[in-house]
Amino acid sequence: MSFALGVLVVVLVFWLAGSASAVLTDDLDLISIAHASVLGTGAYTYGILAREGLSPLPSAAIAVVTCAMLGLGVAFASRRLVGEDFALATFAFQLVWFTLVSNLDSLTGGPLGISGIPSFNLSALPLGAVEPVMLIAGVAVLGAGWLSSGMSQGAFSVGTATYRRSRELSYGLGLPVNSMLAKVGLLYGVGVGLAGILYAQHLTFIDPTLFGTWISVEVLAVALFGATRLRHWGVGLGAFVLVGVPELLRLAGLGAARADGIKMLLGGLAVALVGLRSLGSEE
């Protein structure tokens, strides 16, 4: 795969993760700093099962179900925690997850991670130069966009707006809060988990540093681009600007560390600016 196509895959992966995360940010006004742990759970569950000899499809299915459960946990935590308390709790969860993955050497490979992660085999399809990972990521991005736009309309949207404004009011009005949270949690968990699996397949190796706190912020930054008028396409733009551009800068001779620094600088500024512009403004 050429470098440019590789960058495109990473952009698609972060677009998918960002779109799935945007349901938390946009629909429930929840700022999570644990996106990397969900992304990493998808990648690690898939990588561990594949390493143990399970074929890619069942491995991916189990990984997606695991992430869906994690997503449900995150969404239902919002029944007890709001605002910065929720953000702080997800931050703590991210650090717990990171420490666990870095130290469970026998299961996760510790700091060295897992290598030789296989990809889906779609040799029966006439894909030409298109890698399976790219095709699946592209389809998943479109699916996430379609689902999230469907969720931002009608009764569901009114329900989430009420829940956002007041937990107690939404219970008092008899809104189907549990089903609403389940939908958001499932879309979030499945979307980010699938992104993690595709990321692992694309890289063919994973280690804890790929899923640190910074990656959570990067996914959050990409998702916050969805709060602009561009919605789903805004998330894509965010993925391109924050993930694609710094990767492409390497072509101009910039070292990997400096490219990462620029990525963090751009991502951080984007989070700060989008946060200033969009959050806290009453509907």
């Binding site: 700093i33 007890r80 806290g280």
Partner: protein, 289 residues
Amino acid sequence: MTTLLAIALPRALVYGLAAVVVRAQLSLLDGFDFTVATLVLIAAETFVWTANIAAGLVGPIPAILVGLGASGIVAVAGAVGWSRLGAGLFGVGEGNRLLVVSLGGYVAASGAIVALRGPGVASYSFVGTHSISFAGLGLGSGSIFGLLGGAAAVVGVLWWRGSRSALGLELLSDDREFAEEIGVTPTRIALGTGVVGGVLLTVVGCYYAMIGGSTPDVGLAPFLFGAAGALLYGSATLRAALLGGMTLGLADVAVQLFIDPAMSSLVLFGAVLIFLVVRGSPRQALRGS
């Protein structure tokens, strides 16, 4: 005894100071503020950078003082500027917005440091080579600074508690509407809070820079432990935050000594997570606007 003096007490003091600043910002701006982490990072980096330059000119020990001075100026200026800006920018109930903006600022600052000097540790070249005799024990300069600087800062916090800005902060946490009615507004106490916050974060940042060097994520642990410490005893006072942070600092060292150093983050952050979930957000926040 050496462990207590070299590790446990400095850690407890430093976490206590971080908790006081997190509590002060929480009272002032009505939300958790990652700027605490940003200022710890900036203080640590400034210390390392200036001390390394000064060491060649004035010698290793005076260079520490130069580093501390430079770090203090930068951190106080940053804390005052941000407190004043934030007090005008973030209204009541905009904690989420504050958190997002300040988180973005923290990541941007880390990114700028990685882009400028690369990732990994930056440390003061002479810090590992100097062991100083203190109370009959050979302690590193980081531990001595943590003990003496931390203790002095704690005394300063206890003295500051009686000042108008500190009383104003406690009044803002107790009853924001009443406080603002009688003229105690965040903008009026931002200066005092910023100066004290900047000084305390200088101590925290320089302590980290001296004991293990500065890394781009050096501010995260003091911020999270500070936040947990500020909430631990369920009281909005500065004294409770100080005690909460110190408790967590001692617990951190105890876990490292008696369980597993590698698992210290897991145990402590896990405890923070469980604490937050069990406690839940205040009823007022769940009720919403």
